[in-house]
Symmetry: C2
Subunit: 259 residues, 2 copies
């Protein structure tokens, strides 16, 4: 185990995901879910209920750790250990009654994500990545696909809409022309299936730390590569351009298209 990873931290990350799962399952497909309409919308309520549950566990068990979350902002974000949480990634799927949404939980040490969880409450799938240890899916070790040629690679991306600047869209299209195929949708799930060897590349932009922090240990510990578009490791300070590849050799072939 990497000395920066507290021994009990993967288990705490899983208990956090355990707390969120029943809350999201309870709201799923229960009547009209309109996102962002008002602070009283069921999605906002689900999101806040989850985040409150997570913060309550963290403040009780690791009161000196920091927390960064989408809904309720940052606390002690200068601490050595910071939890980065997104209880509901894939809101569009959630409101449409589709199960491809997840809960993201990460622990960072001095800005570097070292433990990550992607938990899919409806699909009952949980990826756990621990830097220097490995990545599991429901407890079974996972490895990315290796030695895939760029022209044979399968790419995933949540939506073309995230490439709202003309430059970033052109960049995306350039790389899309190099790969075998690209499928859309997926949010955090794309990174889970990449860790398990079913996708080779994910290219996205405009992500926030709570969107990508959990993905970093999951991809790295499964044998993949994940950086910003300049090839720099992702930290909590990154700009939000993310590229993940199934191995370092493929990553080196992808990066030039993104620069």
């Amino acid at each position: 185990m990497d000395p920066r990873v507290p021994g009990w931290s993967p288990s705490l990350a899983c208990r956090l995901a355990d707390a969120v799962r029943p809350i999201l399952r309870g709201y799923y497909r229960q009547g009209l879910l309109i996102h962002g309409k008002s602070d009283q919308s069921p999605v906002t309520r689900a999101d806040r209920e989850c985040e409150a549950a997570l913060r309550s566990i963290l403040s009780r068990e690791v009161p000196d750790h920091g927390i960064i979350g989408e809904e309720q902002g940052s606390e002690k974000s200068e601490a050595d250990y910071v939890w980065i949480i997104d209880p509901l990634d894939g809101t569009r799927a959630f409101v449409s009654g589709k199960p491809q949404f997840g809960c993201l939980i990460a622990l960072a040490h001095k800005g570097l994500p070292i433990v990550g969880v992607i938990d899919m409450p409806i699909l009952e799938e949980r990826w756990v990545g621990v830097l220097g240890v490995g990545t599991t899916l429901n407890g079974a070790p996972q490895r990315t696909r290796h030695a895939v040629e760029l022209s044979e690679a399968l790419m995933g991306c949540t939506s073309l809409e995230m490439f709202s600047e003309p430059d970033s869209k052109a960049t995306f299209e350039k790389i899309r022309q190099q790969v075998r195929d690209c499928n859309f949708g997926g949010d955090c799930y794309n990174y889970g299936v990449l860790a398990s060897g079913f996708l080779d590349i994910v290219v996205e932009t405009s992500l926030k730390p709570w969107d990508y922090a959990a993905l970093v240990p999951i991809i790295l510990a499964a044998g993949g590569a994940i950086t910003d578009w300049q090839g720099q490791p992702l930290s909590l300070e990154s700009k939000g351009d993310v590229v993940a590849s199934s191995d370092a050799a493929l990553h080196r072939k992808v990066l030039p298209f993104l620069q």
Copy 2:
């Protein structure tokens, strides 16, 4: 029951889906699945194995019915009753290890789809629509959402890529600007969740009869509307432009944008 619906036909449609489910489950996430690479690719094998199983049941139980399928073409397609089958809709999801793919089975009478099944082998969800009777999800009656304003509607679409002609893309963008939100991905699943009241509009183009035939009874019998972009009922002769709405009033508001 509509007199055109043979009483035993919904049950036969379900038995067909029962035959496909274990085959697709057996291939799911089993090693490298590259689509279209060669006739020997696992996806092609899975597809053919499913279609052969379906054709074998149909030729034994209803030898005078016609069959239209993607892989093995048409037989007796001039018969009064014709089965339209697509064992694997959502190939991109399937090859990427994502569970949002389904098996589509329809029975048409003189060109009009009267029974439809969307079966999701991994999600273990099955929508069955019987014209004049109703739509169920795993046996529970389903209804579309009603009286949704266009500006509040949630839209789904598998991929912007299907709008390959500039005209059709512009058409899609026009309607997208009218609705509350649009999410991508989904294939046949979008129509299932629309029948269950979680999506309001699906707009697609370039579909084949095996892509849309099963959707027609499912949407109609759940209280929704589904036509081509001109507002004409979908038949096996349709051009493949499809629009589905959660009710007739919403459909009337959507159609002018498509013409």
